[in-house]
Structures are given as structure tokens and as C-alpha cells.
């Protein structure tokens, strides 16, 4: 295998890394007032990455570096969506961070590093690359949460995130080493092959699987490994919460899919049984706890737990329907959560965080347009048609019913019903209550446009969900199931 064949699948990541280093240096030379150029450079980098990812895309599955790295349709689609997500995140958070003095080169560079980590996770085909990508992502996120040094609550969140994240990484590594002991390889394809042949040391395998699943559950933030989620979401500056709560879920999906589906497919009966417990517990605890929250960021934290639980139902179902629906669900969730956190940042202003439920009171009277967009996003999160959130739930439910677990579908919709309450409560606050504050809402033109696109996107994707669904299904089919 020649060098070029190895380099083409990773071209986007190499470009990204070079640009990050370049931006790091350029940023040093720029005055504090002209960080906007760094920002534009970052956006250009994202554009460049997407062009390279599209340009180097070829049908089929390509391995690089002796099977450590894989380039397939699923990874390309997820990468493109990650670029989009990061780009949207930056637009939403620019004004918010500027007002808080956090719009620094470090923030932008760390955002790109986290993206690099996600890209590596998405394309990893080997436990080592998976772990590398995960740590690059996690370390960038820990640092970003801690960027607001003078805020005790942010520092506390960063500390919690770091300690629990490190614990999860440890669990994951321990599980990986056990699987290595049981199968003799760290490469997913080889592990899968070895498992099909049969493994002598069953207890080792079982422990390895449990540790790996616990690590995954930690990273996804599903019950009972969810404890860090509310605190970190709440404590981190909203821009960082947005980053943590949106784009990395795509990488987490890829990560889960690569390990469970590509690597451990032959253990499907074992892990899907465990996932059922995790999924139901997440939907139950997430939905019930979210009702009790008065802080919007905490509420969304519990809602994330719920959504991840629902997404796992897709993995439980298996097959192109199951994994495809899980991917679709994750993508839709990213779009919705970007919009929701974006809305919190738009209502915030210098020295004021609009992160409690009461801050949304009477929004319809202060800004009917923003209220309407938020209503679309909340309806989508609740899974009410004609928004795209409905189709996300629909496709997962369809996958479950197809596998014969109709009871599980009934359980899932009953928890969705409970979930609908707290999303509706936000609509209630916006439309039925009188505003508590009459400070005019200043919306920058770029964020205003983006929230419009985001809200309208939720509706338009809801009216025409077919294309995105098919893209997800096809990429899962070409990438996970044809091996």
C-alpha cells in the first residue's frame, strides 16, 4: 500500500490539523479587537474541510494505516454534519462569547481540536484510534468548559466533567484491554472475526463487554451513568453546553456503531439486552427529572438523557432499519439542540443568562418570531408532527415494532407523553404568560438568520423527511452492514 492511498482517506483531518496549527499562530499575531479574523478563518477552515471530504469521497469502504482508519459513506456523512454543526455553533455563540470576553483564539482553536477528535472517532476502525479521538475530543471539551476561569460554577463543572470523563475513559480502556486479551486484536474487523470463530475465555469477554458498555454509556450520558450530564450542562457557559450537547452526539453515535455493530456484532443478544435496560431507565429518569427542573439548561440535560435513551432503541432493533433510525435520530437531535441552545444565547445579554424557565415567559409579546421558532423546536423535541422530531421517533418506533418488541414501543411512547409535558410548558410560558422583563431583545443579523433557518429547517425536514432518512439508511447499509 503506497503512501497516497493511506493519505487520501485522512486528507480532511490532515488539512484540519494543519489549519488548527496555522490559526493558533495567526491568532497570536492578531490584536484582541480583531479576533473576528480568526473566527472567519475558522469558518473558512470548516468550508475547506467539507470540500475536501466531498472531494475525496468515493463509493465503497477504504482502510488506511493497516486498518486503523476507515473512510466510508457513513463517516463522510457524519463528518459533513459535524462541520455544519460546529459552524452553526460558532455563529450562535459569537455574540454571546464576545459579551463575556470568552471569544478568544483558545476557544476557536479548542473547538477545532474537538472537531478533529470527532472526525477521528467517526472514522476509527481500531480501539486505539477510537480512544485517541475520544480523548482529543474530551480534553478539548474539558478545557472549554473551564475557559470561564472566574466563574466558580463553570470551574466546578469542568472538574466534574474531567473526573467522571477520566473514569469513563478508564472503564473503556479496561474493557478494551480485556477484549484484546480475549480476541488477540484491537482492530474491530479482526475482533469481529475472532468472535465469530468462538472465544475460549468467556468470563473475560463478558467483563470486557460490560466495561465497554459502561464506558459508552458514560460518554452518551445514559442512566445510570448520567450523573455528570446535568451538572456539566448547567455549569458550563451556554456556548460550551451547546457544543457538548449537540455535535459530539454524532461522534458518539459513530463510536457506538463501530464498536457494537462492527466489532461486537456476534454478541448482539448480550449487549442489546443490556441496552434495553439502559434505554428504559434513561427515558424514565430523564423525562421524570426534567419536569422538576427550573433551569432550562438542566432541563435540556435531562432531555438529552432521554433522547439518547430513545436513540439506543434503534441499536436494540438492529438491521438497516434500526441503525439507520438511530443515526437519523442523532442527526435530528443535533439540529434541534443547536437551535434550542442558540435560543438561550440569543435571549441572554451582557451579564445576564436567560437560562431559567421564567426567562422565556411572554416571549411571544417580546419577539413573536423567536417565540414561533422556539415553538417549532420544542414541538420537534416533543415529537409532534409536522416537525422532524416526529419522524425521528417514528423511524425508531418502526424499527422496534419490526423486531417484534411492540411492548417496548408502547413503553417508549408513554415516556414521550410525559416528555411532551415539559416541552409544552415552554410553549405555555412563551405564549400564555406575561413577560417578566421588557428589555428589548437584540438579535444580530447572522444569528437571526440562522435561527430562522434552524426553525424552518425543523419544519421543512418535517414536511419532507424522506431524503435525510434515506441518506442515513444508505450510509448505514454501505458502511456497517456490508462487511
Amino acid at each position: 500500500m503506497n503512501l497516497m492511498a493511506n493519505l487520501i482517506p485522512v486528507a480532511a483531518e490532515i488539512f484540519l490539523l494543519v489549519m488548527v496549527c496555522f490559526i493558533l499562530i495567526v491568532d497570536l499575531l492578531l490584536a484582541k479587537s480583531s479576533k473576528i479574523y480568526t473566527y472567519l478563518l475558522v469558518q473558512l477552515t470548516l468550508l475547506g474541510c467539507s470540500l475536501i471530504t466531498v472531494g475525496t469521497h468515493e463509493n465503497g469502504v477504504y482502510y488506511a494505516f493497516h486498518g486503523m482508519y476507515v473512510d466510508d459513506l457513513m463517516s463522510d456523512v457524519l463528518k459533513m454534519l459535524s462541520y455544519l454543526g460546529i459552524s452553526m455553533m460558532l455563529v450562535y455563540s459569537r455574540q454571546y462569547l464576545m459579551l463575556r470576553g470568552l471569544f478568544t483564539g483558545e476557544f476557536l482553536v479548542l473547538a477545532l481540536f474537538s472537531l478533529l477528535g470527532m472526525n477521528v472517532m467517526i472514522s476509527a476502525n481500531h480501539f486505539l484510534t477510537l480512544y485517541l479521538g475520544l480523548e482529543l475530543l474530551s480534553l478539548s471539551l474539558y478545557a472549554m468548559v473551564a475557559l470561564q476561569r472566574d466563574s466558580a460554577i463553570a470551574t466546578e463543572a469542568a472538574m466534574k466533567y474531567f473526573v467522571l470523563g477520566a473514569l469513563a475513559s478508564g472503564l473503556l480502556l479496561y474493557g478494551m484491554s480485556m477484549l484484546y486479551g480475549a480476541t488477540g486484536s484491537l482492530e474491530l474487523g479482526v475482533i469481529s472475526h475472532a468472535l465469530q470463530q468462538g472465544v475460549q475465555n468467556k468470563p473475560l469477554l463478558a467483563f470486557g463487554l460490560v466495561f465497554i458498555l459502561s464506558g459508552l454509556a458514560f460518554k452518551l450520558g445514559v442512566v445510570p451513568f448520567h450523573m455528570w450530564v446535568p451538572d456539566v450542562y448547567h455549569g458550563a457557559p451556554t456556548a460550551m453546553t451547546m457544543l457538548i450537547g449537540s455535535v459530539p452526539k454524532l461522534a458518539a453515535f459513530a463510536f457506538t456503531a463501530r464498536i457494537l455493530v462492527e466489532g461486537l456484532q456476534s454478541l448482539v443478544t448480550d449487549w442489546s439486552g443490556m441496552l434495553i435496560v439502559l434505554a428504559i431507565a434513561s427515558m424514565a429518569l430523564g423525562n421524570l427529572s426534567a419536569i422538576a427542573q427550573t433551569n432550562l439548561k438542566r432541563m435540556f440535560a435531562y432531555s438529552t438523557i432521554t433522547h439518547m435513551g430513545f436513540m439506543l432503541l434503534g441499536f436494540i432493533s438492529g438491521g438497516i432499519e434500526g441503525y439507520g433510525s438511530a443515526m437519523f435520530y442523532t442527526v435530528v437531535y443535533m439540529i434541534m439542540s443547536l437551535g434550542a441552545f442558540g435560543m438561550i444565547m440569543m435571549l441572554s445579554r451582557a451579564g445576564f443568562e436567560a437560562d431559567t424557565l421564567n426567562d422565556f415567559k411572554g416571549l411571544n409579546q417580546r419577539s413573536p418570531w423567536l417565540a414561533f421558532m422556539m415553538m417549532l423546536l420544542m414541538l420537534s423535541m416533543a415529537g409532534i408532527p409536522p416537525t422532524v422530531g416526529f419522524y425521528a421517533k417514528f423511524s425508531v418506533l418502526n424499527a422496534i415494532v419490526q423486531t417484534g418488541h411492540t411492548w417496548l414501543a408502547v413503553v417508549a411512547v408513554m415516556f414521550s407523553l410525559i416528555g411532551a409535558f415539559y416541552y409544552l410548558r415552554i410553549i405555555k410560558l412563551m405564549y400564555f404568560d406575561a413577560p417578566e422583563s421588557h428589555v428589548p431583545i437584540v438579535v444580530e443579523s447572522d444569528t437571526g438568520l440562522l435561527i430562522t433557518l434552524n426553525g424552518a429547517g425543523v419544519l421543512i425536514l418535517g414536511l419532507m423527511p424522506g431524503t435525510l432518512m434515506s441518506i442515513c439508511a444508505v450510509s448505514v447499509q454501505q458502511s456497517l452492514l456490508l462487511h
Binding site: 408532527p385 419490526q402 405555555k428
Partner: protein, 496 residues
């Protein structure tokens, strides 16, 4: 296709489009423009549905005006619309009532006019979609989307306890809908990958599955009807809703539940329907008798009419589940008639409420002295609500009773009691509100209804009387479809 335009699509999307236009007029500075646009939109929306009636072929039970386009290919979901004798009249009724509601809210609604009018227009289009959808997911999308404008209408323009009422309304109905969704997905897998309702009608289903599907549908539709014991959201929602909201709830929203039984439960799970018929009839009779007695005790006019609606809808579900042509046709006529009568009664209460800001019966008395024209109209609608021969309500109730007596004398006996209770609670309310001496100075200051209100009342009065005296134009549209449905329901769908 009429003039090259797909009639049903236009009937769905034209009001929605006008709704968006009205919304775009912005805040209350442009309220006159918003009202005017809403009126134009609703009148046009009604006019475009007329070809459904004029070009309707009464000799066939097949779907007419069918539109079939690909929508979500991955799940074989289509944009599939069409009407038969069962659904067509409801589209007309709905579009007609949108005009009435826009007119009724003309002066009364003063805050956020554009949003109010837009919500009703959007809802009108969406409800037309519910009646015309032939793909179950399309149906489900319209079905759920219908909740959103109603949720906003009750919550923003409703009475003091509106937030409790609207939350209850939304969550109650969502509970049923979600179970229905699981049932639809189950049927999709059973039917070999089709979401078309007409395909569901043909697929064979084992008994246990039929019962479970029937129960899932029951939750979705019974909540909407509403049937005893899941009716408790309705009095709350009605009392707190603005007049327009109450009218739409009574005239349209309650009908989609019964329509669901006709389109989904009965033809898809005929064996379960027969098996559960006793249960359904029992619930219907409880609604008729018990809720009728509850209505008698109400001191709030809106609550009284709300309970009377539940009682009358009990007649509808009774008519459906006795499985004969009299019952079914009677039930459908009763649905139409109840739309006109209950809608008109809520408008009458709205007229009083706008002037007095009270719905308490005790606050009134001797209104006839001050509002003679209004009293005459109110009298007509009150009589219709008690099922007086010559009004529309009589036709439906009479037919359902005829159907019931064929099945079991005691069913008819219990159901017949409504003629007594209905007359009792309606006329007693009427007497206390309208007759007697003027009781207080508020009543003394009342002014009679104006030209706009007379126009609305007259149109409704014409329908109530017209349908009562000469129901044939309505009945003949139903006839073929009802007979076809009965034949279908009589056949077992258990797998051989």
C-alpha cells in the same frame, strides 16, 4: 380535478396559506387587515370545497377526488387524499364553520388578532386533511398538527383557568394518539409495508392483535369523541376556550373521533369491534343517561352545553356500534346536526358573554325583554338541542333509536331517555336565562344582536331547519358508503 386543480389539496392548503398571510400582517396595528384577509381566506376556503359536493358521485362507495403522490419513499408513505360519502360532508362542515368562527371573532377578539385568525385558518386546513387523508401517517400528521393551533387558541384567548384546560386537552389527546401511532406501525409491518388505510382494511389480523389494535384506536378516538370516562377534558376546554374555540371544538373536533371509529376501528378490526360492541354500547349509554343528568345540574351555560355535547356524542357512538344502516346513517346525521346545533348554542352563549362577561345562568333572567330577536334564535337552537321534530337533531336521533330498537329494546329505551333529559336541561336553562322579569341592571342594559350576529344566526338556523325538514340531500351522500362499510364490517378478517 376541477378546473385542473386538485380540489382536496386546495381545500387543505389554501386556508393554511391564508393563515400564514394573516400571521404576516403582524401586530394589532394591522388588525383590520388581518380580519379582512381571514374573512377572504375562510370564504374562499369554503367556496373551493363546494365542487366536492356538486361533483360528488353518490352511486359509488369508492374514494373520489383521489390524489396520490410519493412522499416518503423509504417507508412507502404517500401523499394520498380522497373522500367518500362518510368524509365529504365533514370537510364542507369544517370549512363552513371557519367562516362562522372568523365572523364570530370579528369584534370580540381585540388582542393578537392576526394570531387568532391565523390559528383558525391553519386549523381549518389541517382538519380538512384529517378527513381526507387516506394514508395513515398523513392522517396522523394532520391529526396531531390539529392539536397545536387549538392548544394555542385555548391557552391564549381562553378564560381564567385556560392553562390547566389546554394542557389537559393536549396531553389527554396525545396519550391516545401515541398509542394509535404504535398500532399504525404494527399494521404497517403486518400489511407487508403499506401505510394506506384502504390496505389496512384488507389485511387479515389475528384476534388478539385485533383487540389490542382496537384498544389503541379506542384511546385515540374515544378521547376525541369524547366518550365516558375519558370525557373530562371537554368541559374544562370548552369553558375556558374563546367562543370561536368552543364552536370549533363542538362542531368539528368532536367529529374527528367518531370519524376515526368509522375509518379505522370498524373496518380494520371488524371482529374486535363486534366483540367489543357491548362495551362500547355500555359506555355510550352511560354517556347518554349519566352525562345528561350531569348536564341538568350545571350552573354554567357553557358547561351545560359541553355536557350536552358529550351526551349527544354518546348517541353517535351508540349508532356506530349497533352495526345497522339506520344506526350508522343516524349517527352520521347526528354528527352533522350536532355540529350546527352545538356550534350555534356556543355562539348564542358567546353573544351573551360578550355583553355580560358571565356564563353563570344565575346572572341572567328576562333577557327576552331586552333581546327579542336573539331570544327567538336561541329558542330555535335550544329546541333543536332537545331533538324537536322539524329540526336537524330529530332526524339523527330518531334513526339511531330505530336502529337500536332493532337490536335490543332496552338500548333504545335507555337512549330514548335523552329526549326527556335533553329537553329538561336545555329548556330549563333557556327558561332561566331568557324568560321572566329582568333580574338585574346588567340585563337591563343589554342590547339586541347586530346585523353581523343576525347573519351568522340566520345561516345556522337555515341549516338546522333545512336539515330537519328535508334531510335527503345529506342522507343520499352517506347512503352508498355506509352500506359498503356495513358489508365490510360484517366480514371476518381473522386469518384462515
Amino acid at each position: 380535478m376541477i378546473f385542473g386543480l386538485p380540489v382536496i389539496s386546495v381545500a387543505i392548503w389554501l386556508p393554511i396559506l391564508f393563515g400564514i398571510l394573516v400571521l404576516a400582517t403582524g401586530d394589532d396595528k394591522n388588525a383590520p387587515l388581518a380580519r379582512l384577509l381571514a374573512l377572504v381566506g375562510s370564504v374562499l376556503g369554503f367556496l373551493v370545497t363546494l365542487p366536492l359536493y356538486t361533483s360528488f358521485d353518490t352511486t359509488t362507495s369508492n374514494m373520489q377526488f383521489v390524489e396520490l403522490h410519493d412522499w416518503i419513499n423509504r417507508f412507502n408513505i404517500h401523499y394520498y387524499l380522497g373522500v367518500d360519502g362518510i368524509s365529504m360532508l365533514f370537510i364542507l362542515l369544517n370549512s363552513f364553520f371557519t367562516v362562522i368562527v372568523v365572523l364570530a371573532g370579528w369584534k370580540v377578539i381585540e388582542k393578537r388578532v392576526a394570531q387568532y385568525m391565523a390559528a383558525f385558518l391553519v386549523m381549518s386546513g389541517v382538519v380538512n386533511g384529517v378527513f381526507a387523508a387516506l394514508d395513515s401517517i398523513l392522517f396522523y400528521v394532520f391529526w396531531e398538527a390539529m392539536l397545536i393551533p387549538m392548544f394555542i387558541i385555548i391557552g391564549v384567548w381562553g378564560g381564567p383557568n385556560r392553562i390547566y384546560a389546554t394542557m389537559k386537552f393536549f396531553l389527554y389527546t396525545l396519550l391516545g394518539s401515541l398509542l394509535m401511532l404504535v398500532a399504525l406501525i404494527y399494521l404497517y409491518n403486518l400489511s407487508g409495508g403499506s401505510f394506506a388505510i384502504l390496505d389496512f382494511h384488507r389485511v387479515a389480523i389475528p384476534m388478539t392483535a385485533q383487540i389490542l389494535i382496537f384498544i389503541a384506536f379506542f384511546f385515540a378516538f374515544a378521547v376525541k369523541v369524547p366518550m365516558f370516562p375519558v370525557h373530562t377534558w371537554l368541559p374544562d376546554a370548552h369553558v375556558e376556550a374563546p367562543t370561536g374555540g368552543s364552536v370549533v371544538l363542538a362542531a368539528i373536533m368532536l367529529k374527528v373521533g367518531a370519524y376515526g371509529f368509522l375509518r379505522f376501528s370498524m373496518p380494520i378490526t371488524p371482529d374486535a369491534s363486534h366483540k367489543m360492541a357491548g362495551f362500547m354500547i355500555a359506555l355510550s349509554l352511560i354517556a347518554i343517561v349519566y352525562i345528561g343528568l350531569v348536564a341538568l345540574m350545571q350552573s354554567d351555560m357553557k358547561k351545560l352545553v359541553a355536557y350536552s355535547s358529550i351526551s349527544h356524542m354518546g348517541f353517535v357512538t351508540l349508532g356506530l356500534f349497533i352495526f345497522n344502516a339506520y344506526g350508522l346513517e343516524g349517527a352520521l346525521l347526528q354528527m352533522l346536526s350536532h355540529g350546527f346545533v352545538a356550534g350555534a348554542l356556543f355562539l348564542c352563549i358567546g353573544v351573551l358573554y360578550d355583553r355580560m362577561h358571565s356564563r353563570k345562568i344565575a346572572d341572567y333572567g328576562g333577557v327576552a325583554n331586552k333581546m327579542p330577536v336573539f331570544a327567538a334564535f336561541f329558542m330555535l337552537f335550544a329546541m333543536a338541542n332537545s331533538g324537536l321534530p322539524g329540526t336537524s337533531a330529530f332526524v339523527g336521533e330518531f334513526m339511531v333509536l330505530m336502529g337500536a330498537i332493532k337490536v335490543n329494546f332496552w338500548y333504545a329505551f335507555a337512549a330514548g331517555s335523552t329526549l326527556v333529559f335533553g329537553a329538561a336541561y336545555t329548556l330549563w336553562m333557556y327558561k332561566r336565562v331568557i324568560f321572566g322579569a329582568v333580574t338585574n341592571h346588567h340585563v337591563a342594559e343589554l342590547t339586541d344582536i347586530n346585523a353581523r350576529e343576525i347573519l351568522i344566526m340566520s345561516i345556522l338556523a337555515i341549516f338546522v331547519l333545512g336539515m330537519g325538514v328535508y334531510p335527503l340531500p345529506f342522507a343520499e351522500i352517506l347512503h352508498t358508503s355506509v352500506n359498503d362499510l356495513l358489508v365490510h364490517v360484517a366480514q371476518s378478517k381473522l386469518p384462515l
